[in-house]
């Protein structure tokens, strides 16, 4: 087992066995693959990667191959527990189906957003969109 460091500062972190990893990206995408390398910036190399799209309780996997991800776009990197993975309430569907579901979901979100923006406008308020803001 990993020796627990005396101080809680770890300079090196490493995984025991090549397990599947789940990566959450800043743009909301989920990637699942075998982590082949990682550095101090959290730049990642993923092997046999699959992009998983979730809509409600359904999900679809799009095979993507090898990914090199720039660290600044990585939100979270998790180890997938293979036992837990087998008993999920999720249902896998085909790529076409999940893409369609996603399109419908984005559509409803956009419409809801439009209504919200309009309602705020009517009250003389406006909220800037996140992508128009500077990070610092």
């Amino acid at each position: 087992r990993l020796p627990f460091p005396r101080s809680i500062v770890a300079h090196l972190w490493y995984f025991e066995v090549p397990e599947k990893h789940l990566v959450l990206l800043r743009d909301g995408r989920t990637l699942i693959g075998f982590l082949r390398s990682i550095d101090q910036f959290a730049n990642l190399v993923l092997h046999q990667t699959v992009e998983r799209i979730h809509v409600g309780k359904k999900y679809g996997d799009i095979p993507r191959g090898i990914f090199v991800v720039r660290g600044e776009n990585v939100v979270l990197l998790g180890e997938i527990d293979l036992e837990k993975e087998s008993d999920t309430p999720l249902q896998q569907v085909s790529i076409e189906e999940i893409l369609e579901e996603q399109r419908v979901e984005q559509q409803t979100k956009l419409e809801a957003e439009k209504l919200k923006v309009q309602a705020l406008k009517d009250r003389g308020l406006s909220i800037p969109r996140a992508d128009t803001l500077d990070e610092y």
Partner: protein
């Protein structure tokens, strides 16, 4: 010790943000960039993040953490103060 980490949570401020995810877990380690490694995690809103069900340990990039909420009774302020004081003295040298 259980702590809440809220990566990139902007929904509170009303900005559109696809990743308003909050995670609860035990702090395993922290590095110089304040990246965090959590073990035994649970997601505060599992309905929204069903893909996180099969993940028990994770690494979270420090730059994208909005805030970390620690339980007050688990924090030993005396120990912290002493450690901070020692560190400050060391840095002066």
């Amino acid at each position: 010790m259980c702590l809440h980490v809220f990566p990139h949570d902007c929904s509170v401020l009303g900005y559109y943000c696809p990743n308003d995810l909050s995670i609860c877990g035990t702090l395993h380690s922290v590095d110089q960039y304040l990246n965090i490694k959590l073990t035994d995690i649970s997601v505060t809103d599992p309905e929204k993040y069903l893909h996180m069900l099969s993940v028990k340990n994770c690494f979270i990039r420090g730059s994208l953490i909005l805030y970390v909420q620690l339980p007050t009774d688990e924090v030993d302020t005396q120990l912290l103060q002493d450690a901070a004081r020692k560190e400050a003295l060391q840095q002066k040298e």
